[in-house]
Each structure stands twice: as C-alpha cells, then as structure tokens.
Symmetry: C2
Subunit: 251 residues, 2 copies
C-alpha cells in the first residue's frame, strides 16, 4: 500500500474559501494532522483519525505525518490559509530533509489555499494591488534585528506590507516596536488595515492612519496590512475601500 | 433591481483551484467581463453575457463593469489568480474613484483566488515559507528605475522574491536586465524557479541555480520565484523539492 502526504491550506476560515482540491484530499484522508483549532475545522467521520496538537510543535507534527504516510496512510496536514506561507509546508520539508532517506520516496503534495493577506486584502479592497512584501513579525525563529532591518528596507522600497503573527500574549512588545519603527520611518498618515478573523462570524475590519495606529489594535487573529506611500482610500456609504493603484508615475 | 459587482479570482487555471465562493458568483452572474483568455474559462449558458476584451484596456473594462452593475446587472469581473494581486481589483477601484459619485453606492465585492506565486510555490515545495516580496516586472505602469531599486532592496532584505509578468514579446529586454542585476547583487547560486502554466496541461517546472538562469527561461505564462540566501533543495527520486526554512539563526 502506498501512502500519500498532502499539506493543505484551509483558507482563512469560511467554508466557501476552501478549494475543491483541498476538500477532495480531506474526503479521502485516513489521518488529519495539525494545530488544534485547524483540525477542529475538519468534520469527523468513520475511518478518519484526527491528530490535533498544540502550537510550537511543528517539527513533531511534521515527523508524525511523514511516519504515517510511510506506513501507507493517506495523511493530510492542515494549515490555516496557505500551507506555504508561514505555515506547515516548510516545517514538513525541514523534517523530511533531516529524516530517514526512505521518506524521500513518499508522494508529497502541497495544496495551496487562500492565505490571510489575500483574504484581508479582498475584504478591504485591493491594498496589495501593487508591489508588496509579506513579513512574519514573530521573532520565535529569527532575530528581532532582522525583522527591523526588513521593515526599514521595505519602507525604502515603498512596498505595501502584509504582517503575519503581529502580536501574541507571549510577545506583546514586538508589535509595539515594529509600529514605532514604521511610524518614524514612513513619517506620514498612510492607511493601515487591521483585519481580524476574516471570513468568520467574528470578522472585524478597521482602517486607521498609520500615525494613529496603536499596538492593541492587533492580536494573533489579526492580519495587518500597511499601505505604500501611494495607497488610497475611497469613502463610500457602505464603508471605505482601500486600494493601491497599479501605476507609479515617477520616483 | 439592485446590481452587484464581484471582482473574482479564477486561480491559476485548474478547475479544482476555483473557490466555491467564486463558482457561486459565476453561477448567478448575468455578465462576465475580463481579458479574453480568462473569460474563455467561463462556460457559456442561457442568460449569461460574456464580455471578453483585449489586454491593456483594464480601465475601459472596469468602467463597463461599473456601468452594468449600476444598471442592476449581476456582474463578475474575472482575473486569473487573485484579483487583488497585479490584476483587475485595483483597476476597478481606479475607475470607481474617477467615476460618477453614484457608483460609490454599488455593492462591490472582491472574491480572492489562488494567486500564481502560491500555486507555483506549492508545486515546487515551499520557497515562500519565510519572508518574501512580490514584484511586477512589467514597466508599463511604473518606471524601470523603480523596479531596479526594489530588486536591490529586496536582495539586501534577503527576501525570497516572486516575479509576476517577467517577460513579454513587447518587453523582451526587461527580464534580461533584471536577471543580470540579481546575478550581480546576489553573487551566488541560490535556486530560481521557473513555473509555467501551473495547474494546466502545459505545466512545466524548472529549478536552476541563479548564476545559470537565462532570460529565455521565462515568458508571460511563467511565474519566476527566486529563493533567499537560505532557500534549499531536497533531491528526491520523484523530483527536487525547493523550500525556504522557517528559521534564520543569525544575520
């Protein structure tokens, strides 16, 4: 019996944002592995074993997935959003590279999903409609100095910026420092989007000028997007739209 | 009758990558508007008017969509990939901002899709598994000097980089210059991915060291992803995997 390992993205939360490819992989799975709240999004059924695990055990989870697939099981590792963006795909490949060589014979597929920045961007308008970057603000796996360096260079490049994992209970100070750096380096009132729990019943969107943004506006369920110097707001009765035009006339 | 304007992403090409949200919007549409090859992906049916148009008329197309929605029609503007990433959403908002004020009362929704860089990344492994940027290499709407500035800053930030619209028949020289700049600025043999027509029958993937990449490896259907200095290759019998680890130990 030959196993298969799919590393799948469940999208930001809403059922209507799960691709048919991912739905089909889940329907055929014998085992679903992932962080507790993501596994909770998969309906239990006869013949399916759910393996929820806690945060920060990504490599253990990856090794379990590889072992089960090597035993011939049809394994799906689930991430929120897209598995390739600050999620489980890189962790599985780290475990694969460090593991026994027979794991390299496995059938491994990455199934893309709607990542948080694109879901948040869509709800607000099109703030990522021009060149942009995506930065993970957690310093669990990289030095804080590198985050600061990237923020300064991203401002200089005039990228719009999407920030994943802006703030958690164990790292309350990082986003405070990032925000202060951005306010000083940009020196303007460009729009900043705080998009919480997009496509779920708890969805909340807030657009504020950068110079009036405060750290408490973000938590771990919030996607933060900072516009470039060109990003604009269209005021409307139904709610403001945020977008970055396609053109830049001069530099 | 109140119209609605949905700006929808069809994903990279495969049916299994179209979200149920987008499929539902298409099923209820009276009018579908977009670039010829994208409209061709929508099945004709009774009661649906297809409005295919040529490239480079994005603002005319956007204005048509807004006019039809204002007349009470259920309009879907289609883009390949995600509508918010170098696609129609920003063009619609440019037209909206410049147009008559009653357009601001319209019900407008952006429906996200699987953008090309995430589809390409998934097929190759997880090259965007750490901080990255997305740059449109076309200089139709911005000066070439700005593209070069962003490339240099992105190398300095050690981002992985996703390049949209790398090369077209009318702009054959841009990618040649971009590639020369990247080869000089990086000065190494980090992996570069050329992913053509991902999720379609014409799909082709090629991974080459940056110092051996040549301009002819890309065309307008190719997504190009350049790794960061940390991006790694795992050799396997079934084909190499490309990924960027989550961790950076020091800078």
């Amino acid at each position: 019996m030959s196993g298969i390992l799919s590393i799948a993205g469940l999208g930001p939360g809403g059922e209507a944002l799960i691709t048919p490819e991912v739905a089909a992989a889940l329907a055929e799975a014998t085992d679903v592995i992932g962080y507790i709240p993501y596994v909770a999004r998969v309906a239990p059924r006869e013949g399916l074993v759910l393996h929820p695990s806690d945060n920060r055990v990504e490599l253990d989870r990856a090794a379990l997935a590889l072992r089960l697939a090597a035993e011939g099981r049809r394994v799906v590792v689930v991430s929120s959003g897209d598995p390739g963006v600050f999620a489980m795909a890189a962790a599985v490949f780290e475990a694969l590279e460090a593991g026994p060589s027979h794991w390299r014979d496995l059938d491994i597929r990455v199934l893309p999903g709607i990542t948080a920045m694109l879901a948040a961007s869509a709800r607000a308008g099109a703030p990522l409609g021009h060149d942009f970057c995506a930065i993970n603000l957690s310093d669990n796996l990289k030095p804080w100095t590198l985050i600061e360096k990237r923020l300064r260079l991203a401002v200089e490049a005039d990228f719009a910026m999407a920030f994943y994992n802006p703030r958690s209970k164990s790292r309350p100070e990082g986003f405070t420092r990032a925000l202060a750096l951005l306010q000083e380096a940009c020196g303007d009132a460009r729009p900043m989007l705080f998009a919480r729990a997009v496509s779920t019943p708890e969805e909340e969107l807030r657009i504020v000028p950068l110079d009036r943004a405060t750290p408490d506006m973000a938590d771990m369920r919030t996607m933060v997007i900072l516009g470039s110097s060109q990003t604009r707001i269209i005021e409307r009765p139904g709610g403001a739209l945020l977008y970055t035009p396609r053109s830049v006339a001069c530099v």
